[in-house]
């Protein structure tokens, strides 16, 4: 195991090794409250006293610091002071002042060593994306120009053009970074080429440290410091919390032939791909790979990759290069079929190359031959993208096609049953489609089709020049079929007018429909049959529980309610699909490359648990509008649809992850269909979808070797080109546990937990899932405590620096909608289904939403990001005279206290009193600064999240207010611990395990 931490305390000064220090170990948490910082009067009792706030801020790195600073011989101050010239005193905690001095400079401070104070400010001009900033993915008003120009102006797949990322203008991605940014992508000083992989808080200047190739130091999180001593208390304001930052660092994926540790996924950064892929595309739960499986299991951490192959790049990044090998196709290892990548080693003067995945020595094809330079690299390595870039795209040859690349087919299926008509859902869907038509990819390869359904299925023949469309009804919903061989799916260019007219007409046509039944299963099956020859995207608008035909469901909700209340152990079964029909269908869909997205515009239970199987298996997703409101939801529906069809995406994809010998893929998890063990089939894959891949050891790695991961995604662009996107990541192997902890990636690990929890919810009782998740957290911390921080007193809760927020997020996860007891079945199922494909940056807001105050927006500094000042999710921070916006990437809740200044209300909502604000909130533009800023904030959030926030008003003293407060995950709630209590609990359990 790694060097005993005990030896390090001093060496690795600031952040890392800062345990929270409890009192003498003899007094764990169990004691009387007074003596227990954590156990004590929880929230009201801050941690330590005045300077107690420092415990976390880690001044004296090595100090297993006991609560009261004063008592600490080595206490931070002295240590910290000399080093940290700028101890961000205003933010005692967040800044970890101690660490900053070492790691460089807080974000706001230009960094002397860096090329430019604002790393990329100059770059954009030279970047293909520079033009984009103007475009804003989500503008407030659907009609006007939401998602403006983005996709349209920048056809995503056109060969040289990369994904149009979201505009660069300000910090595109809100960055709940909890460390000073300097730790992250800071490029090392020019001279220190041999710098070890950077670790959080590793002090480069410490003599012995810097030189050590693999520093034994590890970052401890400062979370500690509760002790018996009565005076020590936990200050809730000092415990680890996410911090956002506004700087946009440059991240080089490799330096000096070493992989760099990526910045937090939620932060904004610009990637320079020099061998490893962008962490947005693929990110590992640990940035060093344990040499053995034993080491991995000792750490208790998961080993998994989060692969988001189409993740939106930062606009300033270089586009992914396309390589065409001509007729021979991309060069591959002849044994493992791995693709040529920067880590393939050329030997024998370049005549042979050794595969970095399987170790096989291949002959270099004659026309690929090139001399090696003195450094052993091919002389052309820098000219060939596949030899110098972590991510490239190969042009696929015929060999990679079983048929011609499919056209971009979009088939819309709309519920027109009585409920859908009467709630306005049908009209909303028709309008949304009608408007979104403009955003479909241009060109003759874009095909569309449409069908409606109630208790039968209505297709429309759109290919009738100058005539009204023909409605073809398929009445047999037990055994469906397609009513026409051709003409159901028609090139958009040939039918646009007809289609628009039809979409206008559908709500009227069915105006008096009295059919309450809905043949959802049959409808998608029938649409599938129509799409079978081509494959494509099937977009379904469903409003009620599918009640007839194939795959019909029955309302399990009532049953569920009684079960939950009676504490039935089988309650979770209601979160499993109701029957197998839909699953069977979905597998068939996937086989024929049909991807299903479902828009649930409903006011009742629709059994998402059963329905979501279809999108999950076919690479689609569920959109959920509950309770559907004709006033506020059409805008979101439209924007969701628009983004769905215009975002970067690929069709008929197959993905495989290869890794170096020593590891093997254990499992894929996400929205796909798997027919053979090694590959996953993705009828469609888009920029929002993430696939988790877990690994296990089947052999050992040599210390100092690298473990490579290669994701190969074969897909068809919306413009009909067949491509292979290759994403490479090569990470060093280590046999030191401490290295593992230091290089742990909280973002990926937490996302991994989230997905594991989501997978577990339908399979086991909620309480069990919650326990599992808590245990995952405890085990990791315990392992750290046991093997890397043994020196510390057992009274201290010591958190690894990299994972110091793990307890907070674990707590938030345990309290999230999916794991709460009181949620509706559908809400939980939706949460589960959403989590399955969720990307890392979106995983955080889902469980730990972002909250900002908006009543004081106008007075805030306009420092570039309006979103920076996030408020911890604790009701302590909510004042009755405030207005707050909380967003989780999907919904935006606006909370209005009961003592808000009427003038503020007037300015924001245009009404004079809180009671006058309509519950169905549609945010309006008023001509005042506050309203403008609020709209800016909302728009910015929408753009960031690539999701149109559905706003909802929450009033204090209302059920809606209580709903809002249920998001305050740091609060103590009935049956749920407060953050501080949770920390205490974690600590106690670690102690139990240690004992």
């Amino acid at each position: 195991m790694g060097a005993p931490p005990s030896s390090q305390p001093f060496i690795s000064p600031p952040p890392s090794s800062q345990p929270f220090m409890g009192p003498p170990s003899s007094r764990p948490f169990g004691g009387p409250p007074s003596s227990q910082p954590f156990g004590g009067p929880p929230s009201s009792q801050p941690f330590a006293g005045p300077r107690a706030s420092q415990p976390f801020s880690v001044p004296p790195a090595s100090q297993p610091f006991t609560g009261p600073l004063a008592s600490q011989p080595f206490a931070g101050p002295p240590a910290a002071q000399p080093l940290s010239g700028l101890p961000a005193s205003s933010q005692p905690f967040s800044g970890l002042p101690a660490s900053q001095p070492f790691s460089g400079v807080p974000a706001s401070q230009p960094f002397s060593g860096l090329p430019a104070p604002q790393p990329f400010s100059g770059v954009p001009a030279s970047q293909p994306f520079s033009g984009l900033p103007a475009s804003r993915p989500f503008s407030g008003l659907p009609a006007s120009q939401p998602f403006s120009g983005l996709p349209a102006s920048q056809p995503y797949m056109a060969p040289p053009t990369p994904f149009p990322g979201p505009p660069t203008s300000s910090s595109p991605f809100g960055t709940p970074s909890w460390q000073s940014p300097a730790q992250q992508g800071m490029p090392p000083m020019p001279g220190t080429t041999q710098a070890p992989p950077r670790m959080f808080g590793m002090p480069p200047h410490t003599p012995g440290q810097t030189m050590a190739p693999v520093p034994p130091v590890m970052g401890h999180s400062p979370l500690a410091g509760h002790q018996v001593s009565t005076q020590s208390k936990i200050d809730p304001n000092q415990i680890p919390r996410p911090v956002s930052s506004t700087s946009v660092p440059l991240f080089e994926t490799r330096q000096g032939n070493q992989a760099n540790i990526p910045p937090p996924a939620t932060s904004d950064f610009i990637v320079k791909d020099n061998g490893n892929c962008s962490p947005r595309l693929m990110r590992c739960t640990m940035n060093q790979i344990p040499c053995t499986g034993d080491l991995l299991s000792t750490s208790s951490m998961p080993l998994a990759l989060m692969v988001q192959p189409f993740a939106l790049p930062h606009p300033s990044e270089e586009p992914i290069q396309v390589v065409d090998f001509g007729e021979s196709g991309p060069l591959r290892c002849s044994r493992c079929k791995g693709y040529m990548n920067p880590f393939m080693r050329f030997v024998d003067q370049g005549r042979q190359f050794v595969c970095n995945l399987c170790g096989f020595t291949n002959e270099t094809p004659r026309d690929y031959y090139c001399n090696l330079g003195p450094d052993g690299r091919r002389r052309d390595a820098d000219e060939r993208p596949e030899l110098c870039r972590g991510t490239v795209e190969f042009v696929a040859t015929k060999e990679y096609m079983v048929r011609d690349p499919m056209p971009a087919v979009f088939f819309f299926v709309i519920d027109v049953s009585m409920n859908a008509i009467q709630t306005g859902a049908t009209a909303a869907a028709c309008t949304a489609i009608n408007q979104a038509l403009a955003d479909l990819p241009e060109g003759p390869r874009t095909m569309v089709g449409i069908a409606t359904f109630d208790s039968s299925i209505h297709f429309y023949n759109l290919k009738r020049a100058s005539q009204q469309p023909l409605m073809l009804i398929v009445p047999d919903i037990q055994d469906v079929y397609t009513p026409l061989h051709t003409d159901l799916i028609v090139p958009l260019t040939e039918c646009r007018q007809n289609l628009e007219q039809l979409l206008d007409g559908i709500p009227n046509m069915f105006e008096n429909n009295r059919v309450a039944e809905s043949a959802f299963g049959a409808a998608i099956k029938a649409a599938f049959l129509a799409m079978k020859p081509t494959g494509g995207k099937l977009l379904v608008f469903q409003s009620v529980l599918p009640s007839v035909g194939i795959g019909s469901l029955f309302s399990r909700e009532a049953e569920g309610r009684t079960n939950v209340s009676s504490g039935d152990k089988e309650a979770h079964k209601l979160l499993q699909p109701g029957d197998k029909t839909l699953k069977t269908m979905a597998i068939e869909f996937a086989e024929y490359q049909v991807c299903v997205d479902i828009f649930l515009t409903t006011q009742t239970f629709v059994d998402i648990a059963s329905i979501s199987v279809v999108p999950r298996t076919t690479g689609g997703q569920v959109y959920y509008y509950y309770p559907f409101s004709v006033l506020s939801d059409p805008a979101k529906l439209y924007n969701d649809l628009r983004w769905n069809i215009s975002r970067p995406q690929g069709f008929e994809a197959v993905m495989r992850i290869r890794c170096s010998q020593g590891l093997q893929v254990q499992e894929y998890s996400g929205n796909f269909c798997k027919r053979i063990p090694t590959d996953i089939d993705l009828p469609a894959i888009d920029c929002d979808k993430t696939i988790m891949v877990t690994f296990k050891h089947d052999d050992k790695f040599q210390e100092g070797s690298e473990c490579a991961f290669q994701c190969a995604l074969l897909y068809t662009t919306v413009y009909g080109q067949r491509r292979i996107r290759i994403i490479n990541l090569s990470l060093p192997c280590t046999s030191m546990l401490s290295n593992l902890f230091r290089s742990a990636d909280l973002d990926s690990q937490f996302t991994c937990f989230l997905k594991q929890a989501a997978n577990g919810i339908p399979a086991s009782p909620l309480s069990q899932v919650r326990e599992q998740i808590t245990n995952l957290c405890i085990n990791i911390l315990c392992s750290y405590r046991k093997f890397c921080a043994t020196v510390s007193s057992s009274g201290q809760l010591i958190l690894p620096e990299a994972l110091k927020l793990l307890p907070l997020y674990t707590l938030a996860l345990v309290k999230s909608i999916g794991l709460r007891n009181d949620g509706r079945l559908d809400d939980r199922s939706y949460w589960v289904s959403r989590s399955a494909s969720l990307s890392i940056p979106m995983a955080f807001p889902l469980v730990y939403p972002r909250m900002i105050s908006i009543h004081d927006l106008a007075s805030k500094e306009d420092d570039g990001s309006l979103l920076s000042a996030t408020i911890p999710l604790s009701s302590e921070h909510i004042n009755d005279d405030g207005i707050y916006l909380l967003e989780n990437g999907e919904d935006g809740l606006i909370y209005v206290g009961n003592m808000v200044n009427p003038d503020t209300v007037q300015r924001i909502f245009g009404v004079s009193s809180v009671d006058g604000i309509p519950t169905q909130l549609v945010l309006q533009h008023f001509d005042n600064d506050l309203s403008k800023k609020l709209n800016d904030v909302v728009d910015e959030t929408r753009r960031q999240r690539c999701s149109y926030l559905r706003l909802r008003l929450c009033r204090k003293g209302d059920p809606s207010g209580l709903f809002f407060l249920s998001y305050m995950v740091e609060d103590k709630i009935p049956g749920g611990l407060s953050y501080v209590e949770f920390l205490v609990q974690v600590h106690r359990q670690i102690q139990t395990k240690m004992a």
Binding site: M418, S455, Q468, I473, P475, D476, P483, F510, E517, L545
Partner: protein, 788 residues
């Protein structure tokens, strides 16, 4: 009140008017008294009736009939004995005594109601509705015409069908309800009553669907709840179940008055394309005739009971998909031939027949008709569909193309009014009452047994039997049924002297006439019993050889269909020989002495031609054609049927008026024009010389007007034949030695063949055949008949 009725022979043998005023013809007009005698007569005792034959002398009575007490229930008729004083009538059939009801109080010798007039053996009752409200409710139901149109056609054919359809739509009465089903690979049911856009229900061609499923899927089922929807707890129950947009599950979405939907239909027809599903090379088009007809029948099932409806199927090829399929899609598999059927090598045949049999049952149940218009060069499956057409009393027309006059003119005819009208009627039921000692074996013809068993049913069954009541969903003026009787005298009645020497049979036909009114036509006939075996005279006198030939043809057709390995020719020969032995006049073993009574004289010739006809020599035709010929044989009048068996030949020449000619190759002459009426085809045959003159254009020269007239005369006569006939026969105009001449030659007696010893008269012709000629046939017959 019936004084002005045209007189007519009451019960005598038909002489002047072949069918008589009653439209009833019998093989024997004097009946043998015993079973043994009857079997000795060889030719079965049978009656051919035309239940609703048009008759100018028909008496229509505007009141309800007076019926005998059950179970007899015969209607008062001229043969009833009436005791005017006691106001009692005695039923001639069961001899029950019935009191006249009060409203007949005024009856007396001088004041008898119409039905008692001796000449009014056939009357029709048109009773008014019972009360006014019922009258309103029973407002004449509009007839329904549901077109079922094949779209697996080439463009040209589709064009022909469309124009035929347009013409038909123009001819339909305004109030008639019209529906449209088109089919190819799938079935399209067009919803006509929807204005926003064209709306079509699509059914798959491969799957058999039940009537209930169809109604359910169309939202027309009375149950109203689809299976599977039931019992979803906590879910609002569906209100009125309706598919699509009409809250009411009314069939009127699909069936609209012709006047309302003519525009829609014409627009639909304009847009109608040939089936768009791809046909792979080497395959037949995928055509799901079976499902299309199921859907049509199912839809009509939602109509009010008692509504008259016709499914008019226009089929352009074989059913290759789903139920009712007759041949696979693979073109390498030929459509079944008679040989295949014989060897049981037609894999789809029995399944298809079973399917259509079920369809027939459904249609009969609903009282609806299936008409089949098959137009294709290849077979379309008439043989399989025959059962559905015949059982429902549907019309059938087989043509080569939708552009051919055989189809076009026939199709037009069914919609035409007035003189030409076929008098299409609906919902007919026939009941037969007869004197005891007579049992009914069954009926051959376009009807279905209602399985109403009774004492009158014979043990042996011929055709639709085991009943005294039959359903004719569709019938028209020419519809003709053949009723087979069994003579089975009871012990008591066989004692001579006691029983009535007359036998009585009463035919009661209930039907809905083209105007939609319900009518009851009552025909009562009487015939004489002939006692004892000695009395062949009387039997011979009462023999109707035309009827006998036709009945035999119908009977043998049935046997050929029903009995495997049945040797029709042999059976016919033996019957003929037995008949001649029984009724011929000869000395034993002396063929030269053989003579026949005039009533039998041409019967052997009929048999000779029947043996050679398409009804017996089926191998010259496809199963479809055979089925077609037999269906028409079974439903046409005796006169027409005789022509089918033995065509008529007229000769036109300069020196004589048109005259009947022998149906013999010897009738061919270079300077004659022959007009052959073989019922299904009408052939104008120009002798060689005539053809040459015509080719030279003499008829256009004023000095050769006579020639022009000669050329024209057979044309005019042919047109006359064609005009009155349904289906329209195929007109063939040919010249001697031309290829089309085969249509004539095939029908002629091959008295001169290529190996005949006779010198052939110049200008005459020979037939290249090994068939025996009539002369040889008769010689053999004489020899065998006189053998002891």
């Amino acid at each position: 009140m019936a004084a002005d009725l045209a007189g007519g022979g009451g019960g005598g043998a038909a002489v002047a008017d072949p069918d008589g005023p009653d439209g009833v013809r019998m093989t024997w007009n004097a009946w043998p008294r015993s079973k043994v005698e009857a079997s000795k007569c060889v030719i079965p005792v049978a009656a051919c009736i035309a239940p609703i034959r048009a008759s100018p002398s028909l008496l229509v009575l505007p009141y309800a009939p007076l019926r005998c007490k059950p179970p007899c229930a015969a209607v008062l008729n001229p043969f009833s004995r009436v005791d005017f004083a006691a106001k009692i009538w005695i039923c001639p059939i069961c001899f029950s005594r019935n009191h006249f009801p009060p409203h007949y109080a005024a009856i007396s010798e001088t004041n008898v109601p119409g039905e008692l007039y001796p000449q009014c053996t056939t009357v029709e009752y048109a009773p008014p509705p019972l009360d006014a409200s019922a009258a309103a409710a029973a407002a004449v139901p509009a007839p329904i015409f549901l077109f079922v149109l094949d779209t697996c056609l080439i463009e040209e054919e589709l064009g022909f069908v469309k124009s035929a359809m347009r013409r038909a739509l123009g001819l339909l009465p305004d109030h008639a309800l019209v529906g449209l089903v088109t089919f190819g690979t799938q079935v399209h049911l067009h919803e006509l009553g929807f204005s926003d856009l064209s709306k079509i229900y699509v059914f798959r061609g491969t799957k058999e669907i039940s009537k209930e499923q169809i109604l359910d899927q169309l939202g027309l089922s009375s149950a109203g709840i689809r299976p599977g929807a039931a019992g979803a707890p906590g879910y609002p129950k569906a209100g009125p179940q309706a598919n699509g947009l009409h809250p009411s599950g009314s069939v009127n979405r699909f069936l609209l008055p012709a006047s309302d939907c003519e525009y829609t239909l014409n627009a639909l027809l304009d847009e109608l394309q040939t089936d768009q599903w791809p046909v792979e090379a080497g395959n037949r088009a995928r055509r799901c005739t079976g499902v299309a007809l199921s859907v049509a029948a199912g839809l009509l099932g939602a109509c009010m009971p008692g509504t008259g409806a016709r499914i008019i199927a226009l089929v352009g090829g074989p059913c290759t998909e789903g139920p009712g399929m007759i041949v696979s899609k693979d073109l390498s598999e030929p459509v079944r031939s008679h040989k295949d059927l014989d060897k049981d090598a037609a894999p789809h045949f029995h399944k298809a027949v079973k399917f259509y049999d079920n369809l027939a049952k459904q249609l009969v149940n609903q009282g609806h008709v299936l008409d089949l218009f098959a137009s294709a060069l290849d077979q379309v499956g008439v043989a399989e569909m025959k059962v559905a057409v015949e059982r429902t009393g549907g019309l059938v027309v087989l043509a080569e193309s939708f552009g051919h006059p055989v189809f076009k003119d026939s199709f037009k005819q069914i919609f035409e009014d007035g003189e030409q009208s076929l008098g299409l009627s609906f919902n007919g039921t026939l009941e037969i009452n007869c004197s005891k000692d007579i049992k009914i074996q069954g009926v051959i013809g376009p009807c279905t047994s209602l399985e109403k068993k009774g004492a009158l049913c014979a043990d042996t069954v011929v055709g639709q039997g085991n009943t005294t009541s039959w359903r004719m969903c569709g019938l028209d003026r020419s519809t003709c049924l053949t009723v087979f009787f069994d003579i089975s005298p009871s012990e008591r009645s066989s004692q001579p002297g006691i029983p009535n020497p007359q036998l009585y049979i009463q035919f009661l036909t209930n039907y809905q006439n083209p105007e939609g009114q319900m009518r009851l036509r009552v025909t009562t006939i009487t015939r004489r019993w002939v006692d004892g075996s000695a009395n062949t005279e009387e039997l011979v006198e009462g023999f109707d050889q035309e009827t006998a030939a036709v009945v035999l043809a119908r009977y043998i057709s049935l046997k050929m269909e029903m009995e495997e390995e049945f040797d029709a020719t042999r059976w016919l020969d033996r019957s003929l020989i037995r008949l001649c032995s029984r009724f011929g006049d000869y000395r034993k073993d002396d063929p030269a002495s053989f003579t026949l009574h005039p009533n039998f004289s041409i019967f052997p010739q009929f048999m000779f031609n029947l043996r050679r006809s398409q009804f017996v020599q089926v191998f010259n035709n496809s199963p479809d054609e055979t089925a077609y010929f037999r269906m028409l044989l079974n439903r046409e009048s005796i006169t027409n049927s005789v022509v089918m068996i033995q065509p008529s030949l007229l000769s036109y020449s300069f020196n004589s008026p048109p005259a009947p000619a022998l149906l013999d190759v010897a009738s061919i002459s270079a300077d004659r024009i022959l007009l052959l009426d073989a019922y299904f085809s009408v052939v104008i045959f120009h002798g060689m010389t005539i053809a040459q003159w015509r080719n030279m254009g003499y008829q256009n020269q004023p000095e050769h007007q006579a020639f022009a007239q000669l050329l024209q005369a057979p044309q005019d006569d042919a047109q006359m034949i064609i005009r009155d006939r349904f289906p329209v026969p195929r007109l063939v105009i040919c010249d001697q030695h031309g290829s089309q001449a085969r249509f004539l030659l095939a029908k002629l007696n091959p008295s001169a063949t290529y190996n005949s010893a006779h010198e052939v008269a110049p200008g005459s012709d020979v037939i290249f055949t090994d068939d025996v000629s009539l002369q040889v046939f008769c010689e053999h017959l004489q020899r065998l008949a006189v053998q002891s």
